[in-house]
Symmetry: D2
Subunit: 485 residues, 4 copies
């Protein structure tokens, strides 16, 4: 789930955070709790923390927001100087506690926990193969496949429980998997981070008074006042233990070697205050807005945003176009996931519960409204209506990304292609459906021009259908026949 | 509590909402639920709804947010075509279920419920008098005084239970009280709204398909798609029953007769999408920002807001000054009241849990940061530090209100005068304390110039100490000796 | 509610407990918590504790069992050396938090809290009168009437807040009320207990290391290891403050002066380990069983009880008759109030969820089964069937009380007369309805013979319809038109 | 945990229940919910149900009592005509949701869930072997070992997902394990029950209108009105699918072949209304009491029980000795697991919260008190003191089992040998410790005489140290290094 999570959006799958060697008591769990709070926008379904006190892993996971799952009592039960944590996205029907992460297991190499952001494309194939070899699966998550692979490989002469043994197992497992992964592993005496060779999902390294921090986004470093050191490179594995931090390269796997960083992280998922793939997210979004103003100019009186994710692009559009920016839509701060709409007999309130128009800003105005993307189109239609009902003379919708027309197989929860309005409708049809006076999307070329980077370093399959890694042509309808928790 | 409720702010006390005659089932309670949700920024401690089915009042109240207190099951237990509701503010130590409103009672005139926004200045005197006459008090709220007064008066020849009887009791009671009140009463067969003669707190009238709505702010009308009709006038009482709506004037009470609408509603409390005292709140705040730019110009590279309440004034400042507006501080959407900071051993995170700086916007910049007010100064100090830590070369703090130096006795929860930094420090001292390069407050004259209204229609005692209504010189330390729920 | 609370029983209304001067911190609240736990059989709907620290009353109340409402944190918020508490019964439709006790108020005499076991017969009359004089009612409880009366009387020259002032108010109030009451009052500096002149409901005095304890039953003294001193006499008021304990007589009120102790307390309500009205409850119940064996002998192989309340009488029956006692019905320990039966499509399990027959004890046997009372008859019918299904050749039902044929107006929640099977059916008809081979009730004469006391000291209106105190002929259908919490 | 669960007792580990083919909707889950409620005495820590709708397994598990974990909404999410369920015991420190059962997995043979009562003696050996072969463990439960073994065997030519395939896997897995197990397996299209060759733990078969039921005890059949068919024989495996029920024998495993039914089930664990190993539990316990009266007669005035588990033996003792039985100790019905004792400063209340003495029964009496067993001795000591404090002249403690001196390795949670008072103290020493006037244990010979069965069919290792199956000499201190949930 993305930064603000109140509309019809594509959903990011997860966030990860880990900290190494902050001393004893529950310092590490406390910092991980804060780090997960800063990454809460990446997943609100479930969260978990695993800590190590040097001789055992301690686990707590639950459904809901970080602030609801953990309290002082629970944190006190997570002792030790290192910990990893995970937040997971929310979908309607399939929220199970058993899919909460980190997953902690014991295998021949000792105890290990893992937190995973991303999606494997060969998980089903590997699962079938592992089951044939005698593995049992207790979750429906790709991540369990990685743990089984670790347990299956013969990691050579290293002593079970040693960093070397775990590392050998992880390297061997990752040599078998293909897809998107930013992974944190915690063992009793080490923390290991890894990022897939395409670099789909972000992963950054920070330092806090000599202690190491790994996180999905830099905003988590900011909160705990850790220093941002660098990105973990695509295809890199970092090993942190009593001997310090060392960096290695993952084994080359078959398949394309080019980078495929998720460009949608820049468009919507990441927090605007993060540094992502080396760039300020807010600045990138402002540039998208400025580019949009160049490509789709319009005579208008005011530029407004769909808050909060549309604000940076709207500010960029306003600055480039010279049309004043103003606050035309106000967002409620009290919409949580538990808000139940009243009974059916009164009409659906939907977007109105979350947004309201500011009449004084919109009345008799020609309005440019900037949003980051359109998924099904239903929300955009309601927003345009709301602006018009507030008195706007014209409503010009500007989208700071290209049309979203293809599903993601690398860790984003997208509707089916049939549900994506841009997969089945032309831009004029979409404009008519959302009842805007004009509609302008950022073009693929404009996107990379504004980003100032070459297209081939990124994955933009959701816009273009050009998938960097092969994926199963039909996702298995029900790969696992276990439902519930 | 005000619009965003995350910093050190003065707290608004309450919001009220009522709807009359939407037909049967739980329509009225459902609409009231939605209306309270839209007014949630006015109070997050407790909420309640009372409905009438024509022969009994049905009550549900609880601690917490509207969305947590009510669900489909609870709403189904609130039958009938009319309802009133209330949200109440949150303070640290004194949150009691028994102080939740509406309060519902039975007296000689029948059953009645009341929801109150405001504070009486002669409540203690009346309470003492009522106790001497044999009344018992079960809450620590001013509002109970009004109910006792209603029960004490001899309302003349009207039939108990009739609208006339209740109305006579209410009129007689309000003739005795002095202070701030926007009140909604619900009886089995009528809804009555009243606003004090000074008009301290807002109260508006709306219409929804022939049904009447009363609410603290117009944003609640917008949500349920009711039409905004007009303000309830200061000193007006409106009576709604099967015979329709009629308006009367309250009895003249002793004391000053001038209007004293709370100017702080315009500065901070009301939602920016509301129409307040006849003016768009967002536009007023933008004008405050523009005025501030005229009065306290500075050479700078960017104007940013302390989100979200500072945004309209920042946009106004930017527009007036020509300095570009940008998003320099990002606010977390996941801070609720339940977030418990981890144990003491790791340092206090405070404002960092709620706000983060956007480095790319601030680095090497001369920054104007606009906020609506300063209470104790501690939060402003942390925000200035955060901006500077993000690389700003200069930080110029602009406040879109005059210095807050006096406590409020008319329904706002303010710290004591000793805690208000502007009560004890000069502006240069405050500037140094918050470590800003410069500090500019809106002046009283600038405030009214920007508002475009004469000062004598408003209460600005929190800035000037000029209290329109006399108040008890020392608030009784512990007027009631009942603690808990 | 009675001792075991799992079947169709008449419900006792309440239990009260108070302790004086155990020193500071939360000692008094902790002892009250334990005392209420021991009295939990007298009410499971809600509970509350009010403590005094000498300068304020501290209140906590909630819905549910004592163990669920209070925890260490809540108890810590109830400081001081004296406290009173209350448990309240559970009925299907009318459980409201606002009816939870103790009720704490402030009036001209100061702050006072009250806990009440019993029911007034002139509450409606007094309420009407009080409303006419300007009182407002916030609950539907009789108890609020007493507080209003206290506030209305002119207690003479005593200083407000002093024990004398409160005492004078209480005495004056109780001079006006008629009915059943065992009352505990707590003020900031005194604890006062009172019992109505008829002595309907029990109230006992205990001593714990120089501190005074008042409780509904002696079992609460046992738990905290307090010494049982004596009963509070009917018509007695005891005042405990810094000057020690003193006893006074209540003013004579109009009406009959004879004692009317509730004989049903002996039959069912009180715990068998209590000393009630000077007698061991268990021994009295055994005597009832022995008397029943004399009056309704039968040739049989085994005597069993409906557990747990029927056990003492069954043991008495067995001993008198010489027929062996055995355990023929086993009770589940895990039936709480929250057990929700599964959906309608599978048949009703009712009594089976609570009781199961022991086949080995019953098969091919002639069985005497002893229960304490029959209310509607439906449960008895199911129990007889269960015994017969387990293989019993004959089932002889013996009831250790006379037929329950009249509703109670003195503090017991009884069905309407129409629902009481003994009000509308002869004993042979009841025997046939419950499908027993024979049925024997204890006679009124047998009851008092076994009790060894004269009938005129007791109230047995539920058996005889001979009401000692006049009561309203038709209970008002809906005296208060306030529903909910 | 045993029948009443309030004192210092040995803890039974689990109860299992399954029902096959009750038609669609959630009938099967509803019946399983009821069955688990009837077995709640066998475990209060966690519970779970897995249902099958023919094409997937549906799972819900949680911590706490059956009535707390399941509600109508949760049951509605468990569709289908067959289901199995499990209740698990409660221990102080190690209650983890991930150890809740049934465990549901997917393996090469399809989806399967398992519910297990018992303990394996070679689990650690097998776990080490499985880890070496590449298995990963997510729980600390023995049961996961069985699932891994199932996944590891090559089950021959059967089609994956077929009953034959699952059955072959189960048979092969059980051929490897040694220890106590009564197991229920549920697959998408079959239910399979198995009992270890020694028959340690019970397992019974019932029939409900043509549908099959498997349960730990017959009391679960009684509740749902199923007919008791027979015990599952030691070493039997029953397979139930669309073709009906068929019975097979498990493969012979190495080791002793003699029966070893747990005699402690008869003494304490099973509910008295169950038929266990072909005998009525209540009757057996009464016989134990009668035998005790023969072996340890004493002159006394009354026989009482420690309720509820001591009651049958007390009734038997009374009948044999001719000394009258009476109720000398009353048990509170409101002690749940959540009762928190107040702060340390007031003394420990322990047994007093659960039991109280009936003075009238005990005063000046010579009392025989019958309990089922003594574990640490501390509770017995408090009970003797309580009886004496109530005025008893003499207290003669009679225990309806031999001294408990050895820990159990077959599914019972016992303290270490050091904590068992009978392991370290002679009978006179124990008598002195508990301050009884005399103490009499049932002898091993008396036990089997009363039971009327040969000793070699039973396991009595907890009394004799004669363990039928070899067990690991030192249990691994921390076999898994995963803590938490």
């Amino acid at each position: 789930m993305g930064y603000d999570a109140v509309y019809d959006k594509m959903k990011d799958e997860c966030g990860v955070f880990g900290v190494w060697a902050l001393g004893q008591s529950t310092e590490a769990a406390n910092f991980t709790y804060l780090g997960l709070h800063a990454l809460q926008h990446r997943g609100q379904e479930s969260a978990g923390i695993v800590s190590t006190d040097g001789s055992a892993l301690h686990v707590h996971r639950g459904m809901g927001l970080v602030a609801d799952i953990f309290n002082a009592g629970e944190l006190a039960k997570l002792p030790g100087g290192a910990a990893i944590g995970h937040v997971r996205y929310s979908t309607a029907g399939a929220s199970h506690l058993k899919n909460a992460q980190p997953i902690a297991i014991q295998y021949a190499g000792g105890a290990v926990a893992v937190a995973h952001n991303g999606n494997l494309v060969n998980a089903e194939t590997l699962r079938t193969e592992l089951e044939a070899a005698g593995s049992i699966f207790q979750t429906t998550s790709d991540t369990e496949v990685i743990l089984h692979l670790m347990a299956r490989v013969r990691p050579g002469p290293a002593v079970p429980g040693s960093t070397e043994h775990h590392l050998a197992a992880i390297r061997a497992a990752l040599a078998r998997v293909s897809g998107a992964y930013s992974l944190l592993f915690l063992t009793e005496r080490s923390m290991i981070g890894a990022r897939d060779p395409q670099g789909f999902r972000p992963l950054v390294l920070g330092k806090l008074k000599g202690n190491w921090v790994l996180a999905s986004e830099t905003t988590a470093l900011d909160l705990i006042e850790a220093e941002y050191v660098r990105e973990i490179a695509p295809g890199e594995i970092v090993v942190i233990d009593e001997k310090g931090l060392r960096s290695e390269k993952l084994e080359p796997t078959a398949g394309p070697r080019r980078l495929a960083r998720c460009v949608f992280e820049h468009i919507y998922f990441a927090r605007p205050d993060s540094i992502l793939f080396g760039r300020s997210v807010h600045e990138v979004r402002s540039s998208f807005g400025a580019q949009l103003a160049k490509d789709h100019p319009v005579e208008a009186d005011v530029v407004i945003a769909v808050p909060d994710s549309g604000v940076p692009a709207a500010v960029g559009y306003a600055r480039q176009s010279g049309i004043p920016y103003d606050v035309g839509l106000v967002r409620s701060h009290y919409i949580g996931r538990t808000f139940i709409e009243p009974q059916q007999s009164i009409r659906h309130f939907g977007v109105k519960l979350k947004l309201n128009a500011v009449r004084g800003v919109l009345r008799d105005k020609r309005v440019v409204v900037v949003d980051d993307s359109i998924v099904r189109g239903t929300t955009s239609r309601k927003i345009v209506k709301m602006i018009r009902d507030a008195g706007a003379k014209e409503v010009h919708l500007r989208i700071s990304s290209p049309p979203t027309a293809w599903p993601c197989y690398y860790g984003i929860d997208t509707p089916t292609r049939q549900e994506l309005i841009a997969a089945t409708h032309s831009e004029p049809e979409i404009r008519d459906y959302v009842t805007a006076d004009s509609l302008g999307y950022l073009s693929i070329d404009g996107l990379y021009a504004a980003l100032g980077e070459a297209r081939q370093g990124f994955c933009d399959a959701c816009f273009t259908g050009e998938y960097v890694l092969e994926f199963p042509h039909s996702r298995p309808a029900a790969p696992l026949r276990l439902v519930g928790a």
